[in-house]
């Protein structure tokens, strides 16, 4: 069969038509997606109000040493002599002996400030993000210790392995220019400095109903 090499035959016509259709389709997709896209990059972060300090952060991160570390908001700290994030686990038998320290890696440093106050600081190189201190501080203390994704370590995986294993849905995507959800720094003014209001963030994209799954208890709904 003699084929006209440059001219139109059925096959070439079909192919060119499909190619044009493909290009148009990609163009349309690009147009649609650019309307839906955001120039702001996002990173993973833990909402400390929702976090239950279950300990998954220490084990589920793809990094050998988790990207999640404990952060201490000193402005919220009571500087207690007996800190429940530092000592444990039997509150009634507490003495200040080293064997009663809660942190498995000794990452919390306790230093005397003035009577009767003690300062607690985190050595991030030792912290593994297990959240034991967070749980103690949250349950009995002011909750000034909390877990955060440290962005000098985080690889910003498309799907965070810890987020997938988080039982309380505390992981969310936050804008990269406001990468931390710190607990309120200035408690006296009762404002939310350093903390982006949760409602204004673009999340990882979990549907709305799940997103507020562990949010504030809704008012007026009687509990079953």
């Amino acid at each position: 069969m003699a084929e006209n090499k440059n001219g139109i035959n059925r096959r070439n016509f079909l192919r060119n038509g499909l190619w044009a259709a493909g290009l148009t389709g990609l163009g349309a997709a690009a147009g649609f997606l650019s309307r839906r896209s955001s120039k702001r990059n996002t990173v993973w972060q833990i909402d400390p109000e929702i976090c239950i300090a279950c300990g998954n952060c220490a084990t589920y991160c793809v990094l050998e040493e988790s990207a999640v570390k404990c952060v201490h908001a000193h402005a919220m700290c009571g500087y207690c002599r007996i800190c429940f994030g530092f000592f444990g686990p039997e509150p009634l038998d507490i003495n200040e002996g080293a064997e009663n320290q809660l942190c498995p890696t000794g990452a919390i440093k306790r230093t005397f400030v003035e009577d009767p106050y003690y300062e607690y600081t985190i050595d991030e190189s030792l912290c593994m993000g297990c959240g034991k201190c967070v749980k103690g501080c949250k349950t009995f203390g002011n909750g000034s210790l909390f877990l955060q994704v440290r962005h000098d370590r985080c690889l910003n995986c498309n799907e965070c392995s810890i987020a997938a294993a988080c039982p309380s849905g505390a992981f969310k995507r936050v804008p990269a220019d406001k990468p931390y959800l710190l607990k309120r720094v200035d408690i006296d003014k009762n404002n939310t400095a350093g903390r982006t209001p949760a409602s204004s963030q673009t999340f990882y994209g979990l549907p709305k109903r799940q997103r507020d799954r562990f949010g504030a208890p809704s008012n007026g709904v009687d509990r079953a």
Binding site: W19, L33, S38, M76, N156, L206, S218
Partner: protein, 433 residues
């Protein structure tokens, strides 16, 4: 000492029993007299946006260079070098994230969830290889994709597998694509990222299961060329379709094919097709009948596979957190299990309505029902089209790289005597001048 502890416990217990779920100042921060300065938490910044854009530029450059090497330069060695460079940049340096394969899920989510805005960098990662494939064929697979590159490196003893088996195994990639889009669109999980077999090599850490999976893939990859690319990769099946209609394509020979058969076995991916024989006349009517039957079968397959997808919704929807949680809470409420989990404890601590949770879970399950129809229907359509495709004959007069399956790796170039003749000619011309 002990009394002091008791006071603390009593205070703590009092405050705790008052029903406050979230912590507040049980112990007011002290006013220091010694001039002590409070430290504030450090906030190391994430990777700057500019680097993300640099990634896009590198991707664009790699795609352009790869296309040039495959279609103009035509040497396997150059393509190989670029492939190794891409492996180091996108794989080991950027730790394999974000990649175009995973970007499918971000795109699917942004289409179905109006609240999710896909980062523009991810959009570029998804679209650029598609555009290049539409023009130049699968040059992304050839030398840009780190997942392809790591498999290409271990391909030492390629064996060929029969076409029907290849086509059958490839069905898994379509199912994977449909499932990944469904799970991403419902906001359940990014399964492509979760089960990326090579990412633990790129990061040199990760879970043991994924590491074992990766080792298995690489071991199989010694004998069967790029098993992930050919049978699993959900992005690959999109690229296949675009490559079918690409403007330019890989040519084995730079000149006219002399049917010497030297390139016949050169492709480890089974993408080289031999010239077809004449079609015997007595087969013709039988084939026509078979084609008619398959076309009638198409709607049946689409419907039945869709129905299977729909029926599987109690299983598939359990990938979603809320459904899993609702299941668990239901078991606990009805006394079928005694203990609680972290997730159910966390849910109860919020004091949210259990009935609302059940309603949410049912909503999500309904979404999975619809998703199951669509995903299943898609898979049924693919099966039907595959059957139809196999019963059509394409006339070929030369040895050709099949458009869809050719990964543009450039291995066949060196097998063509015409290529050698051309290179020698070029060398002589250069020598003379």
């Amino acid at each position: 000492m002990i009394r002091f502890a008791y006071i603390i416990i009593a205070t703590a217990a009092l405050l705790f029993s008052s029903g406050a779920a979230s912590a507040f100042e049980r112990f007011p921060p002290p006013d220091f007299e010694s001039g002590y300065q409070q430290p504030s938490p450090t906030t190391p910044h994430p990777r700057q946006d500019i680097y993300e854009y640099i990634d896009v530029v590198v991707l664009l450059a790699a795609l352009g260079l790869s296309s040039y090497l495959v279609l103009r330069w035509r040497t396997r060695r150059a393509i190989f070098v670029l492939m190794v460079l891409s492996l180091f940049y996108f794989g080991f340096w950027r730790k394999g994230c974000v990649c175009p394969i995973g970007a499918i899920q971000n795109i699917a989510l942004s289409v179905f969830d109006p609240d999710y805005a896909v980062p523009i960098v991810v959009m570029f990662f998804f679209l650029l290889p598609l555009v290049f494939t539409l023009f130049f064929g699968r040059t992304f697979c050839a030398a840009v994709c780190p997942l392809g590159a790591i498999q290409d490196l271990v391909l030492l003893r390629p064996i060929s597998i029969p076409e029907w088996l290849e086509s059958g195994l490839r069905l898994f990639a379509y199912i994977y694509l449909a499932a990944a889009v469904m799970f991403a669109a419902t906001g359940s999980a990014f399964v492509i990222c979760r089960y990326d077999p090579f990412v633990s090599f790129f990061r040199l850490s990760g879970s043991l299961n994924i590491l074992i999976l990766g080792v298995c893939f690489l071991f199989v990859g010694i004998f069967i060329g790029r098993p992930y690319c050919r049978f699993i990769c959900p992005y690959g099946v999109i690229l296949r379709q675009l490559s079918r209609i690409s403007k330019w394509k890989v040519a084995i020979t730079p000149d006219e094919c002399i049917k010497c058969r030297l390139c016949e076995d050169s492709c480890p991916f089974g993408a080289i097709r031999a010239p077809t024989a004449e079609w015997p006349a007595h087969d013709y009517n039988k084939s026509k009948k078979r084609l008619a039957f398959l076309i009638l079968l198409l709607p049946v397959l689409v419907f039945s596979c869709g129905w299977i997808g729909f029926t599987l919704r109690p299983v598939t929807s359990r990938v979603h957190d809320t459904v899993r949680l609702a299941d668990r809470i239901y078991l606990e409420e009805t006394g079928k299990v005694q203990d609680t989990t972290d997730a159910s404890d966390a849910f109860r601590a919020t004091g949210k309505d259990i009935k609302a949770l059940y309603a949410d879970a049912l909503d999500i399950q309904a979404e999975f029902g619809l998703g199951g129809w669509i995903a299943g229907g898609f898979v049924g359509l693919v099966i039907a089209l595959k059957l139809i495709g196999h019963s059509l004959r394409h006339r070929r007069t030369d040895y050709e790289a099949e458009r869809a399956g050719c990964l543009a790796c450039g291995r066949c170039f060196e097998y063509c005597p015409k290529e050698h003749a051309k290179r020698k000619l070029a060398k002589e011309t250069v020598g003379k001048s």
